[in-house]
């Protein structure tokens, strides 16, 4: 599989936050979810790919070439949807489109109008009158109307109603059908990714916790429940994010088969959701054993 996006040992330093040694790959034709708590570094990664901010070290390859050396060509093939829409509030959607579309070689006006129609947008409306959801839809219509091969979305679903979120995910599935386009979206709403993501990259406090096929992650990680006396055992070191309660404990393990071997029937092991993983990994003892 060729990679549409390759990130190697990326590093970015701020005063009180560092993105450290971030590496992951996304092949053509797949969807990757970038998950992590707020402030983990998801937006930073997207800004680095778009060269809005400068990296300290490491490299980013998009479509096989360096993202800075071939910046213009790469950007003409990327569709972006940001958390905060960068458009002009006092202009109409159509005017905003006019300003932006003129810079894309492959702008497809008919396609744009089809999306506008599907998304129920009024192109004569002023941008500031739109709800958050509609603003996102407009950004999406823009991002999908110039034959972009890589779609980058930063928190596209927060603030959207569940109905549209589902529709959005269906839309994403449709986009990657031809195996030539890929989608990377960051979110802290993991339920969106449960179904359609092919790959998941979990980032916490600027570090990658794992990057893998979503199926593999959900099969090898598990939520373990058992009696508190088990916590005394040496093998308990595999438990992450231990939550004790009156009648027992819950924890996360990254290797279910190992947990079964060490604890067999004395614990219950359940299939995790991505949310479980994020929850346990971001609680107090979740970090150290990563």
């Amino acid at each position: 599989m060729e990679n549409i996006l390759e990130i190697n040992s990326l590093r970015k330093e701020y005063d009180n936050f560092t993105l450290n040694d971030v590496s992951f790959k996304l092949p053509y034709g797949y969807i990757m979810g970038l998950i992590g708590p707020n402030g983990a570094g998801k937006t930073t990664i997207i800004k680095l790919i778009m060269n809005l901010i400068r990296k300290k070290s490491g490299d980013i390859k998009v479509f096989g070439t360096d993202n800075i050396e071939n910046e213009i060509d790469i950007k003409s093939r990327i569709g972006f949807v940001y958390d905060i829409p960068p458009f002009y509030d006092h202009l109409t959607l159509n005017q905003n489109k006019a300003i932006t579309a003129q810079f894309y070689r492959e702008w497809d006006q008919d396609l744009f109008l089809r999306y506008v129609n599907d998304f129920d947008l009024d192109i004569k409306a002023k941008f500031k009158t739109l709800s958050r959801g509609m603003k996102m839809k407009f950004q999406l219509a823009m991002a999908l109307s110039h034959n972009a091969e890589l779609i980058l979305l930063d928190e596209p679903t927060s603030g959207l109603d569940p109905v549209f979120r589902r529709e959005l995910l269906d839309l994403f599935s449709g986009i990657i059908q031809d195996e030539k386009k890929s989608i990377l979206f960051s979110t802290h709403i993991t339920s969106d990714l449960e179904r359609i993501a092919d790959f998941v990259t979990f980032i916490k406090e600027g570090q990658i916790v794992f990057t893998d096929e979503k199926d593999s992650v959900l099969e090898s990680w598990g939520v373990v429940k058992g009696g508190k006396e088990l916590l005394e055992k040496e093998e308990a070191s595999m438990f992450k994010g231990i939550k004790k309660h009156e009648y027992g404990f819950e924890a996360l393990v990254s290797d279910v088969s190992q947990a079964r071997k060490s604890f067999s029937t004395s614990v219950t092991i359940e299939k995790p959701t991505l949310e479980d993983i994020m929850f346990f990994m971001t609680s107090k003892n979740g970090g150290e054993d990563a």
Partner: protein, 125 residues
């Protein structure tokens, strides 16, 4: 073709797909040479990851149930009759094994079991 995915099932999704397609091939719902949806189309329709459907198809191909022709898609493999019969026998055998172990637990002997079988067969005729 019919595929129903249960999120609450213990089985991983790819296994559910494998089982359902297998069964439909065995009981004839899916016929020889019938074409199957592409892995991407299936994933899109079910709203699941392409990697999941890919895995299911790869497993089905390994076990000889489907053939994938590059560029053309996936088809139900020509099932030779023996092979199919064997598979079906296996299904019945599994169910009988279950029945036998239940019977043992309840102290029901082989004679009683055989009688039960006769009655059941009789009913069906």
């Amino acid at each position: 073709m019919r595929i129903i995915i249960s999120n609450s099932s213990e089985d991983p999704i790819y296994e559910q797909i494998i089982k359902q397609i297998k069964n439909q091939i065995i009981n004839g719902e899916l016929t020889e040479q019938e074409s199957l949806p592409s892995i991407r189309k299936l994933a899109g329709e079910l709203g699941i990851s392409v990697i999941t459907t890919k895995r299911a198809y790869e497993e089905l191909e390994r076990e000889g149930f489907i053939d994938t022709v590059g560029g053309k898609g996936s088809f139900v493999a020509s099932q030779n009759k023996e092979f199919l019969r064997e598979k079906k026998m296996k299904v019945v055998e599994e169910k009988l094994t279950e029945a036998v172990s239940e019977a043992r637990m309840l102290d029901i002997g082989v004679k009683d079991l055989k009688e039960m079988l006769n009655i059941l067969y009789g009913e069906e005729e």
